[in-house]
């Protein structure tokens, strides 16, 4: 009886505050990083995202979960306009960062991607040296002027990515000579070297072994002190371990956006509960 009343209250809450999580995570930061409103996306004729509303908070890990083809990766790519590279994609709605619409004609996608970095599913270091992998982007963006500055920045990025001790003696070796997990951390170092605000991670551990996965998860926990992290994952345990907030996607819609602990202990919607308890996915 009481439960039903509470349920109804929460539902009305969520409809009033579109994009807000159902339950607040009191240990999380709540300064707004990216605000998404009524976002729709079509691949040609087929609609992949439907009326997405989501507030992503700064210096948190936000996990996007859901069955295959639910649109979570597509949504992630909306945040730094990587979908622009795919022919036939059309988006409508608002993705706002710092009070600016990232899809506006005035917005330069190069500027956007400098502030919103990305780590991909399969580690994809440049076929250049480890040093060059990290140093390339800061140099390109004129962030460093002297050699010493550049060395310092590379070392800091590799330290932050937890890779420095493993590679400091072989910085001139090709990035592709590292193991898969090291390559992925190199890609993270490459992303944080340009000092972005947000790092997008598209299933960053799905191609890695369990030990490398654990290393990356620890790293995400450390990195959220400096960066806002949005990660797509197929692995629900991973979302439960690393994320402050979790959004559950299904057929292109956000079914539930909730405090991670609540999402996995007491999901608000039936669909999320079915997915989390393994009834489909």
């Amino acid at each position: 009886m009481n439960m039903q009343v509470a349920e109804r209250e929460r539902l009305s809450m969520s409809s009033q505050h579109a994009g807000q999580p159902v339950t607040r995570n009191d240990s999380a930061n709540h300064e707004l990083s990216i605000r998404v409103r009524d976002l729709n996306l079509w691949y040609g004729q087929s609609q992949a995202l439907k009326n997405i509303n989501l507030d992503i908070f700064q210096k948190n890990v936000t996990a996007l979960i859901g069955p295959s083809g639910c649109g979570k990766s597509t949504f992630l790519r909306c945040l730094n306009r990587m979908n622009d590279l795919i022919p036939g994609v059309r988006t409508e709605g608002l993705v706002e960062m710092d009070g600016r619409d990232v899809n506006a004609a005035k917005m330069d996608e190069v500027a956007l991607r400098r502030r919103v970095g990305m780590v991909f599913q399969k580690p994809n270091p440049f076929p250049k040296s480890i040093f060059e992998n990290v140093a390339y982007a800061p140099r390109m963006h004129d962030m460093v002027s002297r050699k010493a500055e550049q060395d310092e920045l590379v070392e800091q990025a590799l330290r932050d990515a937890g890779l420095w001790n493993e590679v400091k003696d072989k910085l001139q070796q090709p990035g592709t000579s590292l193991s898969g997990g090291q390559q992925q951390r190199l890609c993270i170092a490459r992303a944080i070297a340009v000092k972005p605000d947000v790092i997008l991670m598209d299933e960053p551990t799905s191609a890695l072994d369990p030990i490398s996965t654990a290393t990356i998860e620890d790293l995400m926990d450390k990195l959220k002190k400096q960066f806002t992290i949005v990660t797509v994952t197929h692995n629900m345990q991973q979302a439960a371990r690393v994320a402050d907030y979790t959004a559950f996607f299904h057929l292109g819609e956000v079914i539930e956006y909730n405090d991670t602990r609540m999402m996995f202990s007491n999901p608000h919607t039936k669909k999320a509960e079915d997915y989390i308890t393994g009834r489909y996915g």
């Binding site: 994809n124 440049f126 076929p127």
Partner: protein, 388 residues
């Protein structure tokens, strides 16, 4: 009911026979192709290698007054028939340049006449019986012999086969190829970069793509007609020049380079592009810093093969006047010049027996260059081949 192994084997026998028959047929085809190749090379080598040797004769030169007007006067009448007339014609000039020589004598090895050369090599020769005897005596006494033919590599074409060389054609080929490369490489690579990395995929770009592919299949003589009509008649580029030849061959090489470059660009995995876009590269930076360096070996290989193809081309050059008698090494890109295959074509039409070996020798030189170029392409590809 299941079948026993024996039943199945009996059925399989026919299939096995068929496959072994196919195997033998294909091996036979390969053997036949190999045989033709061996025959071709054996023929070329046996005909062409003698071209790298030439008969030289040691004569006593008496620089008397008459030799200033007629070179033959400097020679003993008995051997003058055996000496190349091209050398005799040089004597008055030598005396004009250095009058101090007049009244002196000199022992010297000079080019022998091509009839002597052919006789020594055992070919048909128009020497008379007396002359053959003289030649035999001279060989006996060591004053007439076959030596390495430097003239072949240091002279241009000549109507006298003993003096005909391929230097003019080789220099012409180098200059023509420089022009071809300078035009076709940048245009071809940039066209491919645009089509592959920048252009939207629509009807218009598809139409361009189909036409580029068709261009690669157009008979090369049509490019010669195009070069004649546009470069020579419209723009007034000097005909027979390395410049117009290079421009015409560039038209022919362009589609090859475009197609090779597009293939090389397409083989660069998209993950590299995504990584570069992800760190905030503009499209041009993605191409310049990441895609092009990875595609370079493929582009180089394709360009070298395109160039090798252009280097062996004769048909379009006939029309723009590069198949001609060119005795002098071209001094500039606008001078009349010829190229190796055109030189071979010219020699093949000469009536003298001695030109047969010049023709084959020219083919050997051209083939060696082409094989070297293709080997360079293979080495480049192997050396820079990358795995992701």
């Amino acid at each position: 009911m299941s079948q026993s192994f024996d039943d199945i084997s009996a059925q399989l026998k026919r299939r096995h026979r068929k496959s072994s028959r196919l195997k033998w047929i294909s091996m036979g085809a390969l053997g036949l192709a190999g045989l033709f190749l061996v025959l071709f090379f054996a023929d070329m080598l046996s005909k062409g290698l003698p071209a790298f040797q030439q008969a030289y004769i040691e004569v006593e030169l008496d620089y008397n007054e008459d030799a200033q007007r007629m070179g033959r006067a400097a020679l003993d009448p008995e051997v003058s028939r055996l000496v190349s007339r091209s050398f005799e014609r040089l004597i008055p000039g030598m005396l004009r340049d250095d009058p101090g020589l007049i009244g002196t004598t000199e022992q010297r090895w000079v080019l022998a006449d091509s009839e002597v050369d052919q006789y020594l090599k055992g070919h048909r020769s128009r020497l008379s019986e007396d002359e053959r005897e003289t030649v035999d005596e001279l060989v006996e006494s060591g004053r007439l012999e076959l030596q390495f033919n430097t003239t072949f590599f240091t002279e241009g074409d000549s109507k006298m086969p003993e003096r005909a060389g391929i230097l003019a054609a080789a220099v012409g080929t180098v200059m023509t190829m420089l022009v071809t490369l300078a035009i076709a490489f940048p245009i071809g690579v940039m066209t491919a970069v645009y089509l592959e990395e920048f252009a939207p995929d629509n009807r218009f770009t598809q139409l361009i793509e189909i036409n580029i592919n068709n261009l690669a299949a157009i008979p090369s003589i049509l490019f010669g007609l195009l070069g004649l009509a546009i470069f020579i008649n419209f723009f007034g580029v000097p005909r027979s020049s390395a410049l117009v030849g290079g421009m015409t061959l560039a038209l022919m090489t362009l589609p090859v380079i475009i197609i090779a470059t597009r293939t090389a660009l397409r083989s660069v995995p998209d993950s590299i592009r995504h990584a570069a876009f992800g760190v905030g590269c503009s499209r041009w930076q993605v191409v310049r810093d990441h895609v092009l360096p990875l595609a370079t070996p493929g582009i180089m290989t394709g360009s070298i093969i395109g160039l090798a193809q252009a280097m062996g081309e004769t048909a379009p050059l006939i029309i723009i006047g590069m198949v001609a008698f060119i005795p002098d090494v071209g001094a500039s890109f606008t001078n009349a010049s010829t190229v190796l295959p055109a030189q071979i074509f010219t020699w093949a039409g000469e009536p003298e027996r001695a030109f047969v070996e010049k023709t084959a020798g020219g083919i050997l030189v051209l083939l060696s260059i082409l094989i070297a170029l293709n080997a360079a392409a293979v080495v480049l590809r192997k050396k820079f081949e990358r795995r992701w």
